[in-house]
């Protein structure tokens, strides 16, 4: 049994959203690109801040990104210390994510299509969704054991960091 435990923080939650969905990463870059283009267009055509519409045009992408950071902070702020106390229990059969309040989400290995290791987490692609495991929850030997197990169960679909 591979186990890990950590206290979920704001940075972890942001990292989880960022890591687990390529759609979110693409959408964020899209919004930033739209913001930059609009800003350049507005300045170039001399329309920057001339009325409310033109203000809204360049403020909207900034507000969208700001709201997202705010919503994550709001969600984390509402969680109890028990909900933030997260444990992982991983064996040959399944991966379970538990909090100290008794909530649990688990999936069998055969449901996991892919494992992608990123700088701070491990992203498991399951069905239409994904699960994010925080790497700092694991001791070095537990992390090595997880990588070995992921390779065994997923083969080439375990995209682990080079040298890991």
């Amino acid at each position: 049994m591979i186990t890990g435990r950590f206290t979920l923080g704001y940075a972890d939650q942001l990292q989880a959203y960022w890591d687990q969905s390529r759609a979110i990463r693409i959408a964020t870059f899209g919004i930033l690109a739209a913001f930059a283009l609009l800003l350049v267009f507005e300045i170039d055509t001399g329309q920057f801040g001339i009325d409310t519409f033109h203000d809204a045009l360049w403020l909207a992408p900034l507000l969208a990104i700001g709201a997202w950071f705010g919503l994550v902070a709001w969600a984390i702020g509402r969680m109890s210390p028990q909900q933030l106390d997260v444990s992982y229990l991983i064996d040959d059969e399944r991966i379970a994510i538990r909090d100290a309040a008794g909530n649990e989400v688990s999936s069998p290995w055969r449901e996991i299509r892919e494992c992608e290791e990123r700088k701070r987490g491990l992203v498991l692609k399951i069905g239409p969704g994904a699960r994010w495991l925080c790497k700092r929850a694991f001791a070095p030997d537990a992390l090595a054991a997880f990588r070995k197990l992921a390779r065994e169960r997923l083969g080439n679909n375990a995209r682990l960091m080079v040298g890991a």
């Binding site: 509402r78 309040a101 909530n103 688990s106 239409p128």
Partner: protein, 162 residues
């Protein structure tokens, strides 16, 4: 132990997602408002003599439908028949929702804050987010037991239909 089993329909899937959090409900509300706005525009355009105006209005409506509902339909279609087959196992301690493949979501009753029963199911407000329990999964007797269980845990916060 109260048990029930159902195949998740697209309507259940939308309800479960839309009811999951305040953000999701706000998004769902804005989706409906946008849809009504563009539908009104498209219907009004039928009385216009300008073909571009008519086509443009309907194009907006189709775009809204594709952008808003497309991801929902896409993710629902990606669920396998086993993933849509949900079993509920409910006792005095906790609620277990399991699909036929072995994915499971478990939450203790202590995490539930309130419950609202609607014609299709129970919407449980949790400390963070919501959980949806479909009524299709249960027989009449199990449904009665479930209501008793909900009342026992939530008291006045259980707004049930019986």
């Amino acid at each position: 132990m109260i048990t029930g089993q159902t195949n998740v329909s697209f309507a259940d899937y939308c309800r479960a997602l839309a009811g999951h959090s305040l953000v999701a409900r706000l998004l769902a509300g804005s989706m409906i408002l946008m849809f009504v706005y563009f539908l009104a525009g498209a219907l009004t355009s039928l009385f216009s003599d300008d073909l571009e105006d008519i086509l443009g209005s309907w194009a907006y409506l189709v775009l809204v439908l594709v952008v808003w509902f497309g991801p929902l339909v896409w993710s629902y279609r990606r669920l396998s028949p086993q993933q849509r087959q949900i079993t509920y196992e409910i006792d005095s301690e906790r609620v277990v929702m399991r699909d036929a493949i072995g994915n499971a979501v478990i939450f203790p009753w202590a995490e539930a804050r309130s419950c609202r029963e609607v014609s299709e199911g129970f919407s449980l407000r949790m400390t963070v987010g919501r959980r949806w329990i479909s009524k299709h999964a249960f027989g009449p007797e199990a449904l009665r037991e479930l209501r008793t269980e909900i009342r026992a845990h939530l008291g006045g916060q259980a707004r049930l239909m019986d």
